[in-house]
């Protein structure tokens, strides 16, 4: 088996940014392993447009187009991946780490009996072979995981690599995959789209105002909302706020929430647990407002305000509104 395969993901008709980051990881690995990179995309409808964005330094680019892939199911993704792997015989499979891949990649590994490491920040080649670097303990520890057997399956965390640039290098082939079908024991009833998504997805937000347990939730939350309105930012939160039932999970930033990459992240009443910090490692400028000078968040933040947010935020909001005028 030889070659590195990247299976990309799409949002609508376009490949995701994270897919292009994963290609960059593959191209870096390809230099070390001296093996070519190929790509594959699965989806419903015509994938030609997405394929053009995805075609970055590949030797081969396979498309699996089927109306059956309109609705996600793990088993269909596994079936399509098995067909692509059978054709290309890669030694390594890299995937963007997402809600979908963290669901189907382990089922693919289990089918193939392959070694798998999820949510990695680097892939390196050492004397023991291929090693995936994976944050563990919420992000407090990085572990080098040597993967045995082929193909090694690795998912890559968002925001670690810069996007690869398309070069239209590979010719595009279409692969027919018969018997694409979901697991007969799992019936899809409905896709529930978030109610109350406030227009600005956290993932793409330029500014995020995030509140934690220190805000007390409900009672003073209007200050977070006003700060978000004044700065044009999206509203995020720590898991403590979701656990309290105050905001829905789609606002949670962190390891088990969203990994964000804003220009400005303002953490209000958030202590800076590793699992929260795992979500903001790609934030450019981090500001912390916290009344505990020893809070861990001040070790990550670029700017810190020590104080009660109930005193700090109202003046901050008024002042920001002044700039807007």
């Amino acid at each position: 088996m030889t070659g590195i395969l990247v299976i990309g993901e799409m949002a609508g008709n376009a490949v995701t940014k994270q897919t292009l980051e994963t290609v960059a990881a593959a191209l870096q690995l390809s230099v070390e392993l001296k093996q070519p990179v190929s790509g594959a995309l699965f989806g419903a409808g015509d994938l030609a447009g997405a394929a053009a964005q995805f075609n970055c330094g590949f030797s081969t680019l396979l498309l699996v187009e089927s109306e059956r892939l309109e609705q996600y199911s793990a088993q269909q993704s596994v079936t399509a991946a098995l067909a692509v792997i059978a054709k290309l015989q890669p030694s390594v499979l890299l995937l963007p780490h997402s809600a979908r891949t963290r669901d189907w990649a382990p089922q693919l590994a289990a089918k193939l009996g392959s070694g798998l490491v999820l949510d990695c920040v680097n892939v390196v080649v050492g004397e023991d072979g291929l090693a995936a670097v994976k944050p563990m303990y919420g992000g407090g520890v990085w572990g080098q995981h040597v993967v045995h057997g082929e193909p090694a399956i690795i998912t890559v965390r968002a925001g670690v690599f810069d996007c690869a640039k398309p070069d239209a290098g590979a010719s595009i082939e279409r692969l027919e995959v018969p018997n694409l079908a979901p697991n007969p024991r799992i019936e899809h009833l409905e896709t529930i789209v978030n109610e109350g998504t406030d227009g600005q997805q956290l993932k793409d937000a330029k500014t995020i105002i995030s509140g934690g347990r220190g805000t007390g939730g409900q009672e003073n939350w209007h200050l977070i909302e006003e700060a978000a309105a004044a700065t044009g930012g999206a509203i995020g939160c720590s898991r403590a706020i979701v656990d309290m039932g105050w905001l829905r999970w789609n606002h949670q930033v962190g390891l088990s929430g969203t990994i964000v990459a804003p220009e400005l992240y303002i953490a209000v009443g958030i202590s800076g647990a590793v699992q929260h910090l795992a979500g903001i490692s790609n934030a450019k400028t981090v500001v912390a407002i916290n009344n505990d000078p020893d809070a861990e968040i001040f070790k990550r933040a670029d700017y810190g305000v020590i104080g009660d947010f109930k005193e700090v935020l109202p003046a901050f909001i008024e002042h920001v509104k002044g700039y807007a005028k």
Binding site: G113, A131, Y137, T191, Y303, V320
Partner: protein, 262 residues
Amino acid sequence: MHIVVTVKQVMDPIIPPSHMAVDASRKQVVSASGAPAVMNGYDANGLEEALRLKQVHGGKVTAITLGNESARNTLKRAVAMGADTAALLCDPQWQTLDSFGIATVLAAGIRKIGKVDLVLCGRQASDSDGGQVLYWLAQLLDLPVVSPIIKIEESGADALVVHQLMDEECQRLRVELPALLGISSEINEPRLPSPKGAVIATRTMIPVWNASTLNVGQVAGKVTIKALDIQVRTGQAEIIEGADGAARGRALADKLHQLGLL
């Protein structure tokens, strides 16, 4: 309904990296201050959900863990919360198993338990953050698997309706039983052990199943951890000064404006 919940004893996830240490073999992270280990949070959510299902359907909840002798504490807690029985899967040769190896042993343990309608696992362990044992386990037991689950909407004798959390939406799915689910924290708030439960836990015998009880041979791993590096933060924020909170709030706005961020 017989529900098996897999639980893992882990280092308390609130311990910051500055209070962690790597042991001499560089293969294991330990708490530098010797803080007590806890039940993995997502597994506690799984146990809570099992106990709620039992309230509706009757039946039995069994908690199993793979760990060393000290992991008995986590099983005692599971019993104190309301699990009917528990088993400790423990053998010196299982100390450094990877996800596939762990699933192999857990699968043997679950087969020994007999007819099981539902297996609940936490979506991942907060120490390894691995997130794959449940999938290997489902494959080995030939069960349909869905994870992470944030709601069990309906439960019948032969199927469940569940909500699976995706990036931007939820999938509402009907899963046939027997099945395996990975449980996430959004689903419930785990109960604390009751005083009565604590008494029951001290009286409950917890059997130990080893490699020969379960008839499990050497398992060849698929992934080996070669090194662990603690990520200690040494940075320090520039502190925005001011006479009082309001003055600091205004100074912060000025600073961010200067930087072109507002």
